[in-house]
Symmetry: C2
Subunit: 215 residues, 2 copies
């Protein structure tokens, strides 16, 4: 085992490559070169080969890569060769959208529970899944062996939810609340801040503008 520090940027790209491979596979392409993958995903060919090299040798020189083979290797590497059970905490706009989002299902994620504590939401259905009160979270996580939790509650409520999750068997948390969370180190944490992404754009626009006006 030589999993010696894979850059996170590499993992992100592997995920993008795998999705691109699925696409060209559907189009009937059998073999593909690093250069073609690079063109299709907006990176350099050297980068593609370097990323793959962390995990083994998947291609044949002079030929390229088998689309199907490489795809499955990447799926395996990303841990997507099994179905992951996910719970979503918060059934507001974002929580609802994430629950319904087809992109997750496509990649092997199965939402097994949605929780909220707004009385008007509890009991209604999303995608055939009943919204449960927060109190039932632990029970469902336990019953369905959910390993991943998605936090989609308002910022103020996020830490309390994280504390509750810390007492369950949850292995990883994807946090959409714009708040830094404190969680025990055995739980993987990843933050997605939707506003940050817009703000990177505005920073670029703003500084480009100030460049043009010379100040």
């Amino acid at each position: 085992m030589k999993t010696l520090k894979i850059p996170e940027a590499t993992i992100i790209r592997l995920s993008v490559y795998s999705r691109y491979l699925a696409q060209v596979d559907r189009q009937g392409v059998v073999t593909i070169s690093s250069g073609q993958i690079a063109a299709g995903t907006g990176v350099s060919p050297a980068q593609v080969r370097k990323d793959l090299a962390y995990f083994g040798e998947f291609g044949t020189r002079g030929v390229g890569y088998s689309v199907k083979d490489l795809y499955w290797h990447l799926i395996k590497i990303l841990g997507l060769n099994t179905i992951w059970s996910v719970v979503i905490i918060g059934a507001g706009n974002l929580g609802t959208a994430l629950t319904m989002y087809g992109g997750f299902r496509e990649r092997g994620f199965k939402v097994v529970g949605v929780f909220d504590n707004a009385p008007d939401k509890i009991g209604s259905y999303l995608n055939g899944l009943e919204i449960y009160p927060m109190e039932r979270m632990k029970e469902v996580i336990d019953r369905d062996k959910a390993q991943i939790a998605i936090i989609a509650v308002p910022a103020e409520a996020a830490q309390a939810v994280a504390d509750e999750l810390a007492e369950t068997e949850i292995k990883a948390i994807l946090n959409f609340a714009p708040r830094v969370l404190n969680i025990p180190s055995h739980i993987e944490l990843r933050n997605v801040d939707l506003s940050v992404n817009l703000e990177i754009l505005t920073f670029n626009l703003a500084s480009r503008r100030s460049l043009k006006t010379g100040k």
Copy 2:
């Protein structure tokens, strides 16, 4: 003007710092040190100071930073001291959620138009905003001087939307569709792939597991 290559990671952190400062400001904190900011946002104190140093000297030695002052400096740097008009393309689950999302409004983003071409959606309202057919996109962007577009359509439709946007005055695109987009270089592009974020988690879980089992 010496805006010589600011790392993107720095911009992301500035955005996080600013949100944290808003939070402690509401709690009445007047002065704060780099160490406290670091503790509150999960980075190192040196990193905080280095990030700020790209843009000037905002603190006083021996004391720290004025919470309010630093906050406004960051808001200005991020380009958030003005209101940005945003259009959202796609009124599916994600598009709807983003339109309703309060986090954007909080940071100075104003959604001025939502577009879709599903007949059952056109004409209905989101947050007091009527969903228009795609054909009216250019007209609205022009009328409201929208500078940012958010793509929230299925992957297959994303490139066509991008092509249409390229013919407008849009300055930046935030793309939620899991597809690499081809756009002219004068438009800023940023991709947010929700599945990728889950897959980074599963990669970590999967490789951690394989570490434990020794293979």
